[in-house]
């Protein structure tokens, strides 16, 4: 299959690669770049485990082709910790026991990050709506909501 050259900036570093046009962004991130914090849970854009920020918008990277991200900027969970400092969302998930198996957590954090950028002081209802595209099978969401509230209070 023919390949195409793409150049994507991920967590501040620009990567240029030859990829098949059908290569999904999530596979590019996980396998070409070795950033395995972004997870795959469903293939149909429902679980949100693969959520990343694409030019400031949260997207589910299992339904974006990597060629569609050409020339764009991506932030993954690995880019949330700056100079060894946890992002308040990361701290919030730990403080409020917002995770158990941890598989959905990176996607939850990225979706919550997108929410807080648009709405720095969301109500509980707004938080629940904001993460409603991310499935968690372990926590029952109560503590995830508290984690996002914690982050909003500490941003």
């Amino acid at each position: 299959m023919a390949t195409q050259e793409i150049s994507i900036t991920v967590n501040g570093t620009t990567h240029t690669s030859e990829v098949e046009p059908r290569l999904l962004l999530v596979h590019f991130i996980r396998e070409n770049l070795g950033l395995t914090g972004t997870h795959i849970g469903c293939d149909t854009t429902h679980c949100g485990a693969c959520t990343v920020m694409l030019d400031g918008t949260a997207v589910k990277s299992c339904t974006v082709f990597s060629v569609q991200a050409n020339g764009k900027e991506i932030t993954t969970i690995e880019g949330m910790t700056k100079n060894g400092e946890l992002h308040p969302l990361q701290a919030g998930f730990m403080e409020k026991h917002g995770l158990q198996c941890g598989f959905c957590t990176p996607g939850m954090i990225m979706s919550s990050h997108a929410l807080l950028q648009k709405n720095p002081h969301p109500s509980e209802e707004e938080i629940r709506w904001g993460i409603s595209g991310n499935l968690c099978r372990c926590t029952g969401y109560v503590n995830i909501v508290k984690a996002v509230q914690y982050a909003a209070d500490n941003l």
């Binding site: 098949e20 059908r22 290569l23 596979h27 996980r30 396998e31 070795g34 950033l35 395995t36 914090g37 972004t38 997870h39 795959i40 849970g41 469903c42 293939d43 149909t44 429902h46 679980c47 485990a49 993954t76 969970i77 690995e78 949330m80 910790t81 946890l86 990361q90 701290a91 998930f93 730990m94 403080e95 026991h97 995770l99 158990q100 198996c101 941890g102 598989f103 959905c104 957590t105 990176p106 954090i109 509980e124 938080i127 629940r128 709506w129 993460i131 409603s132 595209g133 991310n134 499935l135 968690c136 099978r137 372990c138 926590t139 029952g140 969401y141 109560v142 503590n143 995830i144 909501v145």
Partner: protein, 792 residues
């Protein structure tokens, strides 16, 4: 436990210690199976049957093999050369790894394509040509049991029908007599549909065979790595894979809930593929495969009956069940319990007579019968009894709370032996229900309901007072394929007082690295920060049966306490030697031994640890370590009372859970934060089947749905804000007084929600609703009831 014995710095029992596993997960630095990459690794994808029942006339791999990147196609014929095309199930039935003649359910594995990338493997799957001849399909277990039904398992010698087994417990005749003489009898058909665990991480394996050393290493999604290693050795021992040369590493798992206990054909094919190709093989299911072909939960068709006196005293219970196990009995249950622990169905009540029978049935559906966040069929048992209690309350016009309080096994009666043979360790059922009623304001809710009803609004209050049975499980009664169900811990205290604790169970999000560290901290007074807990690697962890059915704290937690106490016993000898006193002259408080009456004269556990390697009594072996293989004397019996308040939209049938109060009693608590988190998660997994989730099939055996597009799981929007509280009734036989909690909420919640919705509609004449209570189902019930003239 009323008081903390250790400081926050030590972090023993009762402290809400922050989880030690979280720092890697919140940074995206966990290591799940799909994160493993090995040099030269190839990818596997699986060709699956579009038919639920068909003959395989031929499989042509030529086009697939010609595709760039495809390295091999493995079929049943390939595996047959090594006699690996069949394998035993955990219930001693047999299961095809890859079929050579016939497929038995839709999405069954038919062939595997090995290629240099995921995409090439998926291309290859499209190019494998399989010629099928469809056969008649049996999806209804009742039809499968009818005389003259086609026998599905003609591979099994002597199998003349589709009955897998018949199992019964209790006294049939005495129960029948009790029913004949009772004032009131009620009877209800209840179906608990087939559902799936849908852990967000699907199943997968990276299998790597080193042909020089003859060593097989598998990173795999396994809740029971040791048991899986032994099963692999039993399956493939004849081709040279012996147990000491198999290493299973179960790294971070993205949820399990019982779905990662079975051995799936994909694992075995990947192992065969690494041996055949000489390359490491990665196989990761996609979500469709996970939902269509992995083991399911539930699927119990029950007919439940209860007999009582006019005053509501419950006398007898009788339940007949048809259990649809699909094409093979691949249930994950202890060998001696074909229907799991379903006979706990007498619940929290002292029935004098009970009789239970279950028929396991073969159908053309995916195999299984897992204990989905449930200790072996207790969810079905609790659902049956807690529904019956509410139906009885309705029948005799008694408040369901009052009926329960009247009947509960009294707390003085423990240890209590149930009529079906279980010895409950401890309980205070009325205590839990009374607290739940107080916390939710039960009396006010009844008043509110009356007012709403007068206005034509539909509001319901539902109770479920469940008794769980967890901690499999004493080696007399519990085994998997002969492997007795003890569990283990191995603790080493290093010279500087730092600890490594290795356990035979495997976390899937329960926080074992924290909880088990707290047990050691409690027992030895060593700070939790100095304790590392490891698990999941069969080369390093002691043999254990794995994590499921809430057995980790009851069994491996006990092993950890016992091993710690062995270390403390040796430490006492060393401390006495160092302080030049007799052992009996020493007092222990977590972290140090001091001379009785002389608190200034002491040795810390760290002093002792250093001395264990540098300055110990003559004749004593060096080192400070211990192992325990703990065989529990009995199961533990956590319990609780849940009260759910719903509002039902009479026009759409939509159910909104307005409040849900959960009072749990799991004995002494190791980490309150983790226990609360487990309850939140369990409640959500109880809400899901009550309102949303179901896997169903059409008459041709086609799965209806089969992805997250149509399998509805609760998001943050549908999930209520759970309210929790607790009572504490320690287990008398567990070294820590703990009981286990991971599944209580999933077991207890569905009946509370159904009882609430039925209560909302009861004045219309509705007596029962099947789950999931979708808006359509609820709306139909309202419509039928109002058309029958009961409506207001």
């Amino acid at each position: 436990m009323s008081e903390l014995r250790t400081s926050a710095e030590i972090g023993g029992m009762g402290h809400s210690v922050k989880r030690k596993e979280d720092p890697r997960f919140i940074r995206g630095k966990g290591t799940y199976v799909d994160d493993i990459i090995r040099p030269g690794m190839l990818y596997m994808d699986i060709v699956r049957s579009p038919y639920a029942h068909a003959k395989i006339k031929s499989i042509n791999s030529e086009k697939a093999l010609a595709h760039p990147g495809v390295a091999a196609v493995i079929t049943g014929e390939t595996l047959k050369e090594y006699n690996l095309h069949w394998m035993p199930t955990l219930m001693s039935d047999t299961q095809m790894v890859l079929p050579t003649d016939e497929v038995m359910y839709q999405a069954q594995e038919v062939a595997a394509v090995i290629a240099t990338s995921r995409y090439a493997a998926a291309d290859g799957v499209e190019l494998v040509e399989v010629d099928y001849e469809p056969l008649p399909v049996l999806v209804d277990p009742f039809k499968a049991l009818e005389p003259g039904a086609p026998v599905l398992r003609h591979d099994k010698e002597g199998q003349k029908d589709n009955l897998i087994w018949h199992w019964e417990a209790g006294d049939r005749d005495a129960t029948a007599k009790a029913f004949e003489s009772a004032d009131v009898t009620i009877k209800q058909d209840i179906y608990i549909p087939r559902i799936t665990v849908a852990s967000i991480e699907t199943c997968g394996i990276v299998a790597e065979f080193d042909s020089v050393e003859g060593q097989l290493t598998c990173w795999m999604t396994s809740q029971a790595p040791h048991a899986h290693r032994t099963v692999f050795a039993m399956v493939a021992g004849h081709v040279g894979l012996s147990e000491e040369k198999i290493r299973i590493i179960s790294p971070d798992l993205g949820g399990g809930f019982g779905g990662k206990v079975p051995i799936y054909p994909g694992y075995v094919i990947a192992i065969a593929a690494t041996v055949v190709t000489g390359a490491p093989i990665k196989w990761i299911e996609d979500r469709r495969e996970n939902m269509q072909a992995d083991s399911f939960g539930r699927d119990y068709h029950m007919t439940a009956e209860l007999a009582a006196d006019k005053d509501g005293t419950m006398k007898a219970l009788r339940i007949k069940t048809i259990a649809d196990h699909g094409y093979t009995d691949a249930a994950t249950q202890p060998s001696k319990w074909p229907a799991g622990l379903f006979s706990i169905c007498t619940g929290s009540y002292p029935f004098e007579n009970a009789f239970v029978e279950v028929d396991g049935v073969y159908t053309n559906k995916p195999p299984g019968g897992i204990a989905y966040r449930c200790s072996f069929r207790v969810t079905e048992a609790v659902h049956a009894i807690e529904r019956l209690v509410d139906i009885l309350a309705d029948e005799i016009d008694m408040d369901p709370a009052e009926l329960r309080l009247k009947n509960f096994i009294p707390k003085e009666a423990f240890p209590y032996k149930s009529v079906l043979g279980w010895e409950y360790d401890s309980g205070d059922y009325a205590g839990a229900l009374n607290l739940a009623m107080k916390r939710i304001g039960y009396a006010d809710l009844l008043k509110e309901q009356k007012e709403k009803r007068a206005k034509g609004e539909l509001m319901g209050i539902g109770i479920s007072s469940f008794t769980e049975v967890v901690g499999a499980g004493n080696s007399r009664d519990f085994d998997i394929l002969g492997l007795k169900m003890f569990d283990s811990a191995e603790i080493r205290v290093h010279p500087t007082g730092k600890v490594i604790c290795r356990i035979g169970v495997q976390t899937q999000g329960q926080g074992h690295e924290t909880t088990f560290g707290q047990i050691v901290a409690e027992e030895l007074g060593i700070p939790i920060a100095d304790i590392k807990v490891e698990h999941g690697d069969t080369d390093t962890a002691p043999y254990g049966l794995g994590t499921y059915a809430s057995r980790s704290t009851p069994v491996a937690g006990a092993a950890t306490a016992v091993a710690s106490r062995k270390i403390r016993d040796k430490a006492r000898k060393i401390a006495a030697y160092l302080l030049e006193v007799g052992e009996d002259d020493l007092e222990w408080e977590p972290g140090k031994f001091f001379v009785k009456g002389v608190p200034d004269k002491f040795k810390t556990i760290q002093d002792v640890a250093f001395a264990a390697y540098t300055n110990f009594p003559e004749g004593m072996e060096a080192g400070l370590e211990a192992v325990s293989y703990y065989d529990p004397p009995n199961m533990t019996y956590p319990f609780g009372s849940y009260i759910c308040v719903v509002d039902v939209d009479g026009k759409t049938g939509e159910v909104k859970v307005r409040r849900f109060m959960a009072v749990d009693d799991c004995g002494n608590i190791i980490n309150p934060m983790i226990v609360e988190g487990q309850i939140h998660g369990g409640l959500t997994m109880g809400l899901a089947p009550a309102l949303f989730e179901e896997i169903s099939y059409d008459e041709e055996g086609n799965i209806r749905g089969g992805s997250f597009m149509d399998y509805l799981m609760p998001t943050a929007m549908e999930t209520p804000k759970w309210e929790t509280d607790k009572t504490t009734t320690p287990s008398p036989h567990h070294p820590l007084g703990a009981k286990g909690v991971g599944e209580s909420a999933t077991v207890g919640a569905p009946a509370a929600i159904v009882n609430a919705v039925v209560d909302a509609l009861s004045h219309l004449g509705v007596r029962h609703l099947e789950i999931p209570m979708t808006p359509e189902r609820v709306w139909q019930a309202i419509r039928s009831a109002t058309q029958a003239g009961n409506g207001s």
